[in-house]
Point group: C2
């Protein structure tokens, strides 16, 4: 395959005609496809239906410590639920608070609490002139939406194959007191599938923040969400590493079972130091009478332990893997050698990240849409929805069927080609 | 019975000796009783165990509009859940947002959102020098804890048998722009069991707030929580009344199934105007990916409709009523005529409110505690925990068994007598 950039103007014009014809043919099919949603397919949800039988009218509803899971009380989670979530995150139960149905809400509430009441006795952020936040890019749009909602100035940090550019992270965190946090998805990052290297984690743990209330928001969303039985990434335990480095209070870690059991009906947790837990609980005791303990019991009795969670994730992977592979095969077959985009094969998580030629992402997404394929909006993976290079596109292969996924990937590749040719013609 | 205040010093001294002896005898029994907790008894929780079978591995998990209740999506609640909660509150589904497991959290989040982002475009409260709040007293300590947590200045408003003193409410709300809210438990109020009269509700709906962002926090916690089949209180629909009065945006109403199904595992909702719903959703869409829809489905399929809820509340009442009546009988038998306290027989809700002689509440609670009976702390029913008369005590008869309740009430009455005699002797 010849790279598009090496084609002459005439060759490009001819190619454009061919691609346009193919595109019009596709459009005529009236497809209705969606690669935007990072949500499990129905087949995955079916995997856990028997969890709904686990707690029933005949069940003993007492937790291991005698708590009646049906009544008020127990602010921070049943002991066995803390243990399960601790094992999931690779930390200790005493570092864990179990919350409600989503880690996103814990993150929002953590930013909100810092804004209204401050972190561990420091000035509430609403009283500060300026609060800044580091955002490894590309990243997760819902993270950026939270910091934007609170008027926090977001600073892009480029991702490398080992995690965020740590030179830049250190420069900002260690020197600028207004930098109060950083969004991280350290394992199978959203959208690139990057796993933070041991060195990256250790450099995080050894930050010397200018701000006493700087916190790493460590969203371990895909902690056990492997796609393969082998090639499973290992990530250092950030809570432990921070403690070792003399920075025990510097991190909030988050995880949930949203993509293990049921999105919206799972359980979510935070792991952090004793001092942070005490600080969080001061607000938590005002905000809630406690979370859904029956659902906590349901999860623990169904999964039993970390091995139960892992076994379920293996079943998820068997459904997810063919979709990822079908997508990657189409990208490989259709685009390799053309030099119109790059992508990385992920070993876990929910996404494939595609980097188009500069200035092409919006056009690609728009071409897809016109032909019946909904993609995540171009720019969504950047703060304020602004991708400076207009290049990154997030592909979510989980929700469609494998057949739909192949159709969708095919159409996507065609749109990439067409947009790239258009772009190259602009300067010929 | 002769009123204690009419006894001579000698009579009081003799009485004190007798009561002290009785008290020491009680203390020697080593009782462990609790009338502090407004939580359902295990027998009540057993009433709803079969709800746990309603949604199981064989269930159709699609909601009425085709939403897969197991997956992401549906920010404001399944249509059938909105309908159920609307019927519970006596309003329309389009006025309802279904939230998570507790109305307290909705209230906290509403205050927090107003503090960080303002109400419908008005200045966020964190940017104001002063925010004030009206607190009908005695009231609910967890309400007061929320406003205290945000540094909001709380102003006591005396309760009457028809609800809060509306002259005072109107004076503050209609003239002071820094008054941004009022806590109300309009039906079977916590702790007095007062039901707001139609006139009170209409006067609320016709307030002319100085502040555009003033909101009534209408915590309809006991909306269907009657103790009797007859004598069921009716309350006007505040959302409708506010609309009629040209104040559609002035109220947030809250309710939950916490004391219908399971505390902590129920569903909670807010009812308000379209404009407020749009305003709330702006933040909600950042804060959550949606609440637990499987639990919503479980509730709707189990209760089916408002009649299902009402039938369940009848069964709850049959368990609660004997405890209330046992308590009231002891108070009547032991204290009537002594003029050492007043109380009102409630027809719903979870509490009996007792007003001791001025300056006696703390002493009574402390005497109870010493003899093994935990009561809600004296002062808890007032903002900042300060009862200016040191008089009000909240009695929660729901959790103990009827036998325990009778024992507890007996001990309580004895402590009331002893503390009253001590108080009268101070001035003889």
């Amino acid at each position: 395959m010849k790279a598009y950039k090496d084609l002459s103007k005439d060759e490009l014009l001819k190619l454009k005609d061919e691609l346009t014809q193919q595109y019009e043919d596709k459009k005529a099919l009236g497809l209705r496809l969606n690669m935007a949603r990072g949500k499990p397919a129905a087949a995955q949800l079916n995997l856990t239906m028997d969890m709904l039988d686990t707690v029933n009218s005949a069940s003993d509803m007492l937790a291991s410590d005698g708590t009646d899971s049906r009544n008020y009380g127990c602010l921070d989670g049943l002991p066995e639920t803390k243990k399960l979530m601790a094992d999931m995150m690779g930390t200790n139960p005493e570092n864990v608070i179990v919350f409600g149905n989503a880690s996103l809400t814990i993150m929002y509430d953590s930013v909100s609490r810092s804004y209204t009441h401050g972190v561990c006795g420091n000035t509430p952020w609403c009283k500060l002139d300026k609060v800044k936040w580091l955002c490894p890019v590309p990243g997760y749009d819902r993270h950026f939406a939270i910091t934007e909602h609170f008027g926090i100035e977001m600073i892009n940090i480029p991702m490398t194959q080992d995690g965020p550019d740590m030179d830049l992270v250190e420069k900002y965190v260690n020197n600028d007191e207004s930098v109060k946090g950083i969004w991280c998805v350290p394992k199978y990052s959203n959208p690139q599938g990057v796993v933070y290297s041991d060195e990256t984690v250790k450099r995080f743990a050894n930050l010397k923040p200018a701000a006493k209330d700087f916190r790493i928001y460590w969203d371990n969303a895909y902690v056990i969400h492997h796609l393969y039985d082998d090639n499973q990434a290992e990530l250092l335990d950030i809570v432990g590493e921070c403690a070792k480095a003399g920075n025990p209070d510097m991190v909030y870690e988050f995880a949930s079972t949203s993509k293990v059991s049921f999105p919206g009906s799972g359980i979510a947790a935070m792991a952090t130091s004793a001092a942070n837990i005490a600080d969080v609980k001061k607000t938590m005791t005002i905000q809630t009478i406690g979370h859904d303990k029956i659902n906590q019991l349901r999860h623990v009795r169904y999964f039993k332990d970390i091995n139960g969670l892992k076994a379920k994730m293996k079943a998820h992977a068997e459904i997810m893997r063919p979709k990822f592979e079908a997508t990657l095969k189409v990208l490989e077959d259709e685009l390799s050698g053309l030099e119109v985009g790059t992508w990385v094969k992920p070993y876990g998580g929910y996404f494939i990240s595609f980097d188009a030629m500069e200035g092409c992402a919006k056009r690609i997404v728009s071409l897809c849409k016109e032909a019946g394929l909904v993609m995540t909006g171009a720019g969504a993976t950047f703060p304020y929805g602004r991708d400076p290079k207009d290049s990154n596109i997030r592909i979510a292969p989980s929700f469609p069927t494998p057949d739909e996924m192949e159709q969708a990937a095919d159409l996507f590749a065609l749109c990439v080609k067409l947009a790239s040719v258009e772009k190259l013609l602009e300067t010929k």
